[in-house]
């Protein structure tokens, strides 16, 4: 079995909220992906991906902003990591 990983950043920490960024890494080697290769996300939300068989490996941890840094922004904060295990030979 080989692992496929899907990274979905959402508009909020709620898994039903909209996907705002996405990445796909294919451990089967069947698909190559790179920056800027798509205009539309593969799913509208994490929940939609779950309904298509993706397992959630990680949910974002929500932390209170540090005093004095309440308005600071950086890399997108609400990132979910999802996986599928795939038989590269197409069995099972």
């Amino acid at each position: 079995m080989r692992q496929q990983l899907l990274f979905l950043c959402l508009a909020t920490p709620n898994p039903t909220s909209a996907v705002v960024s996405w990445s796909f890494f294919d451990g089967t080697g069947g698909t190559t992906t790179m920056a800027g290769d798509g205009d539309q996300p593969p799913y509208d939300s994490v929940l939609a991906a779950m309904k298509d068989g993706w397992r959630v490996l990680q949910v974002p941890v929500v932390r209170a902003a540090a005093p004095g840094r309440e308005h600071e922004t950086g890399p997108l904060p609400y990132e979910f990591v999802l996986e599928k295990l795939v038989d590269p030979a197409g069995r099972g």
Binding site: C9, T12, S17, V20, G36
Partner: protein, 280 residues
């Protein structure tokens, strides 16, 4: 250079830069100058007095006005009134040269550069450098060009730590006619795109910084135009529930650029006592 007669940016254009992190000027470089600039880049000559004999000399930190003084094309491009005017508008008088680079992507180069922000994380809270990105030849989508994420420029990301992301809602590839200039805030997230054509793609980048305060150095006659606030409160689709934080950070930058510590949008900073006596 006499800057008193330069065509300056408007407040609406400055607000667009603050909101989106870039401005685009199609065909700002005339075709003959663009062709000559490509020839000059191909020669490998540097900016300091056309100093082909000393290619490793550092010109970083020198006034832009002292560089490319004898170059046949790059210097004249940078001294085009509209180009010089936008540099003055964004940075104030006496812009300083940081570095330049001719990004040449060969034919049939299938890979994208990962998303990144240039240079190491910049601790300046509000001051900014600009990067001029010149596309001297036609750049169709299959040729790339540089993809940017509008509205990402005020988010703190160090170089490649955003490289795990492949796509963002709102990402914008540069597709433009020859002679186009894209001016970006130093913090904007971007990546070079694959070149699927049989021709090399060239993007000439120059990074410039301010030599003093960036304060009301544009044409402020339209400062009270309602489009200024309308532009500053634009919400980019990738920001999700942080959209208002982005607008708060733009308010802070607009206060700095205009010298108006009371500027606000919907009392968002005012309600926090941002211009109340200290400690209140």
């Amino acid at each position: 250079m006499d800057t008193s007669s330069l065509p300056l940016l408007s407040s609406k254009q400055m607000a667009a830069f603050v909101a989106h992190g870039f401005l685009r000027f199609d065909e700002i470089v005339p075709p003959d100058m663009a062709a000559a600039a490509l020839d000059e880049l191909a020669s490998g000559a540097g900016p300091a007095a056309w100093r082909a004999d000393d290619p490793h000399a550092s010109d970083a930190g020198r006034p832009l006005g002292t560089l490319w003084t004898r170059s046949p094309a790059i210097g004249p491009v940078l001294r085009l009134p509209r180009v010089a005017g936008l540099i003055h508008s964004l940075l104030g008088p006496g812009a300083l040269y940081d570095h330049h680079y001719a990004h040449v992507i060969g034919p049939r180069q299938p890979w994208s550069q990962p998303w990144h922000a240039d240079a190491v994380l910049d601790p300046r809270p509000l001051a900014f450098d600009i990067q001029l990105m010149f596309f001297f030849h036609d750049t169709p989508r299959e040729m790339g060009g540089t993809m940017i994420l509008p509205g990402s420029h005020l988010r703190r990301a160090n170089e490649l730590e955003i490289s795990r992301v492949q796509n963002f809602r709102g990402q914008l590839p540069t597709v433009c006619p020859a002679g186009t200039l894209i001016v970006i805030h130093h913090g904007i997230w971007h990546c070079g795109q694959p070149n699927r054509t049989d021709r090399a793609r060239t993007m000439f980048k120059v990074r410039l910084g301010p030599s003093g305060k960036q304060l009301r150095s544009w044409d402020v006659t339209d400062l009270d135009d309602p489009d200024v606030i309308r532009t500053l409160r634009h919400e980019h689709p990738f920001t999700g529930s942080q959209a208002r934080l982005e607008i708060v950070n733009r308010i802070k930058l607009w206060r700095c650029l205009t010298g108006d510590p009371t500027f606000d949008i919907d009392y968002w900073l005012g309600r926090m006592g941002e211009h109340a006596p200290a400690g209140r």
